[in-house]
Symmetry: C2
Subunit: 414 residues, 2 copies
C-alpha cells in the first residue's frame, strides 16, 4: 500500500489559506508583496516551522524550507506559489505549496526519512499580475532575470518591487536562493478542461508548450458602405475574418495539441456605415514542438498573403514574442506516472498550455508537474474549483512521486 | 444643338463658394447654421438676387428662389445643400445648388422662358453633421419631421437648432416652405467609385437604395488560450468571423446592387491570451428592392444560426433600423437619360447607396438625380474631387433635364 497524505489536514489548510485575502464570492486576492501576500507567507512559515523546518528567504522573497534526508545531496524540490491575481481562485498556486507541506507532514507523521533532502518552495510573483512579467521569482532564482531588473519592476501605482519586498519584511539573502535540486515537482490545477473532458482526476504533465505571439495588420481601403459595390471593395475586416477562420481550421488539422487564438482585434474606423480600412489582430499559437510551431507561423503567413495581397490589400505580420517548448524530464514524468499507477488512479499525459514556475525550474533541474482536474477548466476567477477528492488524489501523487525521486521506499519500512 | 451652361461661370462660383469655410487642405467646413453656413447662404442669396430671383426662406432655413414660367403651375425644382461635414469637400451639396443657379443664369442669358416655373433650392442640414438626423431641412419641408422636433435638435455643445437658426438670421416663414413641384432634380457627386470604374462622367440615378441596420451578438465562452483544446472551445470571434465571411459571399451572389458591410466589431475581453467569449458586430445591408433586402436578412439569420447554435454558442440579431428603398420617377429618370443622350454623353443608370434630399422630395413629387464622377469615389473629406469637365457635363444634363420637364424647347426658339 502506498503512503497517503492526511486529506483532512490538507483541506483545512487550503481553507485557512483561502481566508487570507478572501473575496466575497469565495476567491482570494493575494497579489504579490501585498499585505495579504505577507499574511499568507507568515501563515505558511508558521506551519513549516511547526513541522520542524527552518525557512530560508532569498533576495527575491522566494521561501525555501528543507527537510533533511539521510544524505546531504541535492534536494527534491516541491513548489508553487501563494500569490494570486486580484480576484483569483483559492487553488491556483496555493494547492502546490500546501500539498508540498502536506508531503512533509505525512513523512513526519510516519517517521519516514528520505535519502535525499526534500524542499518546500513558495515562489514570489508567479502570476505577474502586480509586477510583470509572470514567474518573476522563479525566473530570478535561476538567473533568468537580473536582480536589478527584478528590483526595478513597478506596479500600476509606480511602487517598486524592491521597496514592497522590504516593506513586507521578505527581502532575504542571495545565498538563500533555492539551488538546483535533484528534481523539481509542482502540483497545480489544470486551468483547462482536458481532464474534466476525459473524466480523470489527475494528469501527468509532460511539458509546457511553446507559445508564439504575432500581430497581424491588414490594410485595405475605408469607403462609404452604401455607394461602393462589392467588387470594388478592399475590406480589411472581411480579409481578417477569412484569416481568423482559416487559422482555426488549420490548427485543427495539425494535431489535438495545436491551439490558435485570436484574442485581440481592432478595426478602423469602426463606424457602422464605413467599410473597415484597417484590421489589427493578435494570434497566439501554441504547440509542444518548436518545429511545428514554426511551421504554423509559415502557414499563417501564407494564409494572410492569400487573403490580402491577392485581393489588393496589404498585410504585415510581426512575430514579437516566442517562448520555446519546455519538455519535462522523462525520468521525473515517469515517476509521476508510476506514483499514479501505484495509487490505481487513471491518468493521462498532457502538456501544460500555460506557463508555471516549473518552466524556469526545468532549465536547471529534472522537472515534471501534476495537474488536478479543475471544474469547467476555469481559473483566474473566484469560481475556480477542484473537488476535495481530486485535490487529495493530486497530493497523493505528489507524495508518491517525491518518495520515488528522493529514493526511499525502504524508509517506509524503517 | 442642346443649350449649354457657362462652365467658366459655374467653376468660378464653385471656387468662390469653396472659399467660404475653406480648410487648409482644400476642403470646406460649413456645418449647418454656423457662421460659415450663414456666409455661404448670403453669397448664394446675392447671386440669386443678381440673377433677378426673389429668395424665400422658410421656418427651417430652407432657401427657395423662383424663376417664373409662362404658366403659373407647380415648379420644376432644382436643389441640394450648401452645408458640409466639418472637414468636407467643396462639391458635396454645393455643386447641386450652384448648378441649379447656373441653369437659371443660362436661361437668362439666352432669354428662354420655360412653360413651368423653375425653383432653385438650398436645403438646411442635409449632412446631419451638427444637428442629427441627416436631411433635416428637406424632411421637415415635406412634413416628415415636426417643427418642434426640428427646433429642439441640439448640437454637441447643447446649442438648439431654433436658436442657431435665429442667430444667423435665416428663420423664415412656414408659408415660404418649398411646396411640392412638378418635378425635383438634384445634381450631386457620386460619393462612390462606380462611375470612375465604368469610365463615365455622369450617371442617371434611378433611386435610393433601401438600407437596413442590424446588430449581431454572439455569445460563446471565454477561456485561457493555452489549456483549452480546439475541440472544447466556444470562440465567439471565430463564429463571428465565419458569419462576416459568409455575409460577404452571400451578397455577391445576389446581384451587383446588393452590398453588405460589417463596419463595427467589438470582442470581449479583447485580451491576447483569452478566447473571446463575446463578439458584437453591426451589419449594414443595402439593396434597391425591399423584398430582396428582407430576404438578405432572412439569409443572415440562417447564417448566424448555423455558425453559432450548431456549435454550442448563442446569438441574437437586432434589426434596429430600416430605410425603405426609394425608386425615382421613371418619367424624370428618363428625362435625365434623354438629356444626357442629347449631349452625346455616355451614361449608366445606377442607384444611390447613400441618402440625399431627393429621398424626401421623392415622397411628394416626381424626382430623379444626376451623379457626377468623383475621383476615387471619396467624399466627406478634403480630398473629394471632380474634374471641371465632369462638373460641366453634369450641369449640362441638369439643364437639359430641367428644360424637358419644364416643357419649353419652343422657348429656345423664341
Amino acid at each position: 500500500m502506498p503512503l497517503r497524505i492526511n486529506a483532512d489536514r490538507l483541506h483545512a489548510r487550503l481553507e485557512a489559506m483561502a481566508r487570507v485575502g478572501a473575496t466575497p464570492a469565495g476567491g482570494v486576492g493575494r497579489t504579490t508583496l501585498s499585505d495579504e501576500d505577507r499574511a499568507g507567507r507568515d501563515l505558511l512559515r508558521s506551519w513549516l516551522e511547526a513541522a520542524g523546518l527552518a525557512v530560508r528567504v532569498d533576495d527575491f522573497g522566494n521561501m525555501t524550507a528543507r527537510r533533511p534526508g539521510r544524505e546531504d545531496g541535492p534536494p527534491v524540490q516541491l513548489g508553487s506559489h501563494l500569490d494570486s491575481v486580484p480576484r483569483g481562485g483559492r487553488f491556483d498556486g496555493a494547492l502546490g505549496v500546501l500539498a508540498a507541506l502536506e508531503v512533509v507532514e505525512t513523512l513526519n507523521d510516519t517517521n519516514v526519512t528520505t535519502r535525499l533532502p526534500l524542499e518546500v518552495i513558495n515562489f514570489t510573483d508567479e502570476e505577474g499580475a502586480r509586477f510583470e512579467p509572470a514567474m518573476l521569482g522563479s525566473g530570478a532564482a535561476i538567473g533568468h532575470f537580473p536582480k536589478d531588473y527584478v528590483y526595478a519592476r513597478t506596479d500600476a501605482r509606480g511602487l517598486r518591487f524592491a521597496d514592497e519586498l522590504r516593506r513586507i519584511g521578505y527581502q532575504g539573502r542571495e545565498a538563500d536562493r533555492p539551488r538546483p535540486g535533484a528534481a523539481y515537482l509542482e502540483l497545480h490545477i489544470e486551468q483547462g478542461p482536458a481532464l474534466e473532458a476525459a473524466g480523470l482526476p489527475v494528469g501527468v504533465v509532460a511539458g509546457i508548450v511553446g507559445i508564439t505571439w504575432l500581430e497581424v495588420t491588414v490594410v485595405g481601403q475605408s469607403d462609404h458602405a452604401g455607394p461602393t459595390p462589392m467588387g470594388l471593395r478592399h475590406d480589411a475586416l472581411v480579409a481578417a475574418a477569412r484569416v481568423i477562420d482559416r487559422i482555426d481550421r488549420l490548427v485543427r488539422q495539425v494535431d489535438e495539441r495545436a491551439v490558435a487564438t485570436v484574442g485581440r482585434l481592432r478595426i478602423e474606423p469602426d463606424v457602422i456605415n464605413i467599410i473597415p480600412g484597417r484590421a489589427v489582430f493578435s494570434v497566439d499559437l501554441r504547440h509542444p514542438d518548436l518545429a511545428t510551431l514554426d511551421a504554423l507561423v509559415t502557414h499563417l503567413e501564407a494564409i494572410v498573403g492569400s487573403e490580402t495581397v491577392a485581393s489588393g490589400l496589404e498585410a504585415t505580420i510581426d512575430r514579437f514574442w516566442t517562448s520555446e517548448p519546455t519538455p519535462f524530464s522523462p525520468a521525473v514524468v515517469d515517476a509521476v506516472a508510476a506514483a499514479a499507477d501505484e495509487l490505481e488512479l487513471p491518468t493521462m499525459r498532457l502538456w501544460s498550455g500555460a506557463g508555471h514556475d516549473a518552466k524556469y525550474m526545468a532549465e536547471v533541474c529534472p522537472t515534471a508537474m501534476i495537474f488536478v482536474r479543475s471544474q469547467g477548466g476555469v481559473s483566474h476567477c473566484e469560481q475556480e474549483y477542484s473537488t476535495p477528492e481530486d485535490v487529495e488524489a493530486g497530493a497523493n501523487v505528489l507524495l508518491g512521486a517525491a518518495l520515488r525521486l528522493a529514493g526511499t521506499t525502504e524508509g517506509v519500512d524503517g
